[in-house]
Amino acid sequence: MTIPPFCFELFVLALGILLLLLETFSEKQDRKMFAFIGIVGLAVVFLLLQTSTPGPSGMVSYVVDSAAIFFKKISVLTTIVVLIMSIDYANAIKRFLPGSSPQSGLGEFFALPVLTCAGMMWMSSAIDFILIFVSLELVTISFYILVAYMRRNANSLEAGVKYLILSGLSTGFTIYGITWIYGVTHQTNLARIEQVLPGIPLENQPGLLFGALLVLVGLGFKIAAAPFQFWVPDVYQGAPTPITAFLSVGSKSVGFIVLLRVVQAFQSLPAVGNRLITAIILLAAATLLYGNLAALPQTNFKRLLAYSSIGHAGYILIAVAGIGSRDSGRAVVVYLAAYLLMTLLSFLVLVIVTARGEGDDIVNFNGLAKRSPFLAFGLLVAMMSLAGVPLTAGFLGKFLVFKVAFETRQFFLIALGIVTVGCGFYFYLKVVRAMYWQPASASVTSIPVSKLSLATIAIMVILIFVLGVFPQIALGLLP
């Protein structure tokens, strides 16, 4: 028996509503139970997703191809890890929410990511600009709420406002771009657009390109591509850490799947498609440079991860720009899979280390190797993978990206990539230095880690190495 493909979103949606109902109707329950329910439910969805195969969906605006399935898996996995982090982060949430009971607002904090996850899953399958727009907005509005969630925390609110305004701006550009694409092609469906594009007369092509570029701007905002990335460091720093992770992985991933679909559709008209790729190359170059260079003097770990997230968007954009190569989609997918593992791992460790109200500066990681060797090792692996040390998943991603770039002769981007990888080693190893070289300050003691987080860290570390050593597993993600 196969489950109809669109049911997965509905399962997740139902799960989210279930959590909300539980929140409403149970008074005494420990809210952390809800998180466990969410995790288990999502895990079930993830397992069910394993059975789904590409095939017709029966809807024009919704496809079920292998990329869609992959990105759904990414969304679900990310959400699971975010929920795990949220459990560890619950104390901080409580501290910054006004409530009659210590549990106030926690249920929603666990339920909203699940609903967001549904939005991401819809986005993964959407090939109609209408569906793309609404699911994108579902994700965006959820993030408005989540980012500003700790409303007694000025930083969280500030981040929320910044995200709100800038995201609204980008939404404006996106919808304006969609308008123009529709105006020229008379279609909102990417599959149809791909069909009609070759017949677009020359005089209308600037309009088409204008629209495509504005859509690119909007998506560039989502994936944190320079010069539309300015919100990233501030919002990442201000948001609750699990949400930062969610933004950094989930929001970015689905941004990329939409970008890939749009760019792919436009390839049927080379006059426009190639110029669109030129634009992506420019964005990739700017993003690589900005993300990696601005990270160099960073001293706050969360901001560092924000810049790193920008930098990685640059690498993935290189792969997107190489859409002419057979491995382009694969490179994006593999890179994102690796990125998911290593970024979530970093954030998970960050949440655990800072759970008791310590700051999230790199200095706070001093001597972590002595306080908690396991956490330090986990973060070490994450940093190695982020920096791109071979035999880790991160290296495989970079390897594919460089391969794609070489195949499509993007030598300029390769040269930039070399420089930025060098920079990357510097700032990732700054964290390693803090953990291993520096002595811990006298006041701090060892850090308690819950069994669930421990297991999650262990699994992610193993997965990072497994993907790195057996590339076929990663490549099999997108056959």
Binding site: M59, S61, G105, V134, I141, I145
Partner: protein
């Protein structure tokens, strides 16, 4: 609709849009916004999009603007105290906007031969509300569900963010 009416409504829309930006009093801005959106609704109607025009007035002029006004009142926002303008920023902003307009007008007047005529339409047996509704509930049913979720999320969010004391 005659071109004269079109231009009048365009002028009203743009003028009050400008007022939104230029007024220093938030209340005046909000009211200007309402006027601008009403002119916009008239333009929708001029394009035979009656349903959307009605929605525009209902949602924007009726709901959103009330919300804006309500919040402005709630927060007791005074007219902005004139602060020293940051001239480089303002100039930069103008340059960016003018350049954007330049691109936009180049694109606008470049496409469709520059003078696409309004094609005649036949009045169908069902109104456009019916047409739009059919599309929404059949073809874009999924999108509608997504929007439903969105509204659910938004309402939870509003509660979380603004309730004085959570239960």
């Amino acid at each position: 609709m005659s071109p004269i009416l079109f231009w009048i409504f365009v002028a009203i829309m743009l003028f009050f849009a400008g007022m939104v930006v230029l007024n220093r009093n938030p209340v005046a801005s909000a009211l200007s916004l309402v006027v601008s959106f009403m002119a916009l609704a008239a333009l929708y109607v001029s394009l035979d999009a009656y349903f959307i025009g009605v929605i525009q007035i209902l949602v924007y002029a009726g709901a959103v603007m009330v919300l804006f006004l309500f919040i402005i009142m709630l927060l007791d926002l005074k007219a902005e105290v004139r602060r020293r303008m940051n001239f480089p920023a303002v100039c930069g902003g103008f340059v960016v906007i003018l350049l954007f307009l330049k691109v936009l007008s180049d694109v606008c007047y470049g496409v469709f031969g520059g003078n696409a005529k309004l094609p005649p339409i036949s009045q169908g047996p069902k109104g456009d509300a019916w047409q739009v509704g059919m599309l929404i509930f059949e073809r874009y049913n999924l999108a509608l569900q997504v929007v439903g979720t969105l509204i659910l999320v938004a309402s939870i969010g509003v509660v979380i963010l603004s309730k004085r004391e959570l239960k």
